[in-house]
């Protein structure tokens, strides 16, 4: 369906590219340097923390489904597991990683 939309639109729309139209949008200025700039490496650290906690969420889903059968034991187990991870978050916070400059 997406491909059909692309194809259909190609049939009926005008196509008139010329060099001035094909430059990047930057308020009609020429871009200085390359566009693939180095961005802040904090994004990378956030991605790392995300991976840790997303794995935790993956563990939590089956835990939640089977919770009625497992009972108190599972709850205590999960609290201990989360405490360990939370210590990690606390550590990252104290390190100042979560602060955006």
């Amino acid at each position: 369906m997406v491909l059909f939309a692309f194809f259909f639109a190609r049939l009926i729309r005008p196509a008139n590219p010329y060099p001035a139209k094909s430059i990047n949008y930057e308020c009609a200025e020429e871009t200085i340097g390359t566009s693939w700039i180095r961005f802040n490496n904090r994004f990378y650290i956030f991605a790392l923390i995300f991976v840790i906690f997303d794995v935790e969420v993956v563990f939590l889903f089956p835990w939640a489904v089977a919770f009625n059968k497992l009972g108190l034991y599972a709850l205590v187990e999960m609290v201990i597991f989360i405490m360990i991870l939370f210590y990690g978050l606390y550590y990252a916070w104290k390190k100042g990683v979560l602060k955006w400059v």
Binding site: F6, S22, Y25, F39, F43, F46, F61, F67, M78, W100
Partner: protein, 338 residues
Amino acid sequence: MFEVILTSSIQVVVVIVVVLTGCAWATWLERKVLGHMQQRIGPSYTGPYGLLQPVADGLKLIFKEDIVPDSVERLTYTLGPMLSFVPALLTFAVIPYSRDFSLFGLEFKGVISDLNIGILWIFAVTSLGVYGLVLAGWSSGSKYSLLGGIRSSAQMISYEVSYGLSIVGVIVIAGTLSMTELVAKQASDSIWFFENWYLWRNPIGFLLYLTCAIAETNRTPFDLPEAESELVAGYHTEYSSMRFALFFIGEYANMLAVACVATTLFFGGWNGPAFLSFVPPVIWFLIKVFVFMFCYVWLRATFPRFRYDQLMRFGWLVLLPLAILNAMVTGLVVLWLG
């Protein structure tokens, strides 16, 4: 066997058509409601109350020239809009919109595909949408797009964790991941037809879900990725014509999907009052979804945008601990009450 294929194909076509029209008129709803909230009248020239505005917009976008800058990476530039559009539609496969019914002698189920891991499917598919934004932002070869793409990826993965955790409470209570079973468990025959909604049993979970969902769909107050005043339009700065339209439909389809999931998880899905049982259940479903879409627009008219450091701090130091605490406390209460 043939009948099953026939009924599910009919359902797929109908649901896709309904979703796409819903998206189109969601843009109209947004502009009209925003207009009235800001003491304007919104679109009014095209048709009665401007109701034909989405048609005009669609035609205009099809007839527009597709400008592809020289600096783009062709393959990923094309993949970007597709990847943000297709996952948004895939979520609707598991959303139950009605009870089983028969029409023209054919037996229909109230959902396209009754997966027993429905919620998991929704979360898996919606998180694919971030690829579309990142690829689009990166491949455009423009600084605005790159920053928009990076920002949106960081924001979406930050809120993804709390988004997943916010519904753990509901799953603990219900003990199932299947969407149809969740709806069935919220049914009630009494006059207080809303007594079994999970909204009452897990209100904090609902608020968390709403907040994270708004951030996931990149809407105001969390619309940092496409902050017009600083990034032009974020990741879709360099897109035009149909490619731009796909981004737009994808965004609105995501909003619709979020509204449908919230309806199913917290507001009893298609269950309506028992004393009004002659009204088809799909009507109740649509009413609830409409209320959610209205709230989306309302939020946009009310809140200013967050600053980026506030957004990150809020996501990691408020929402995440709160979501985990909510899941644990829900577990404790479920144990306590047996």
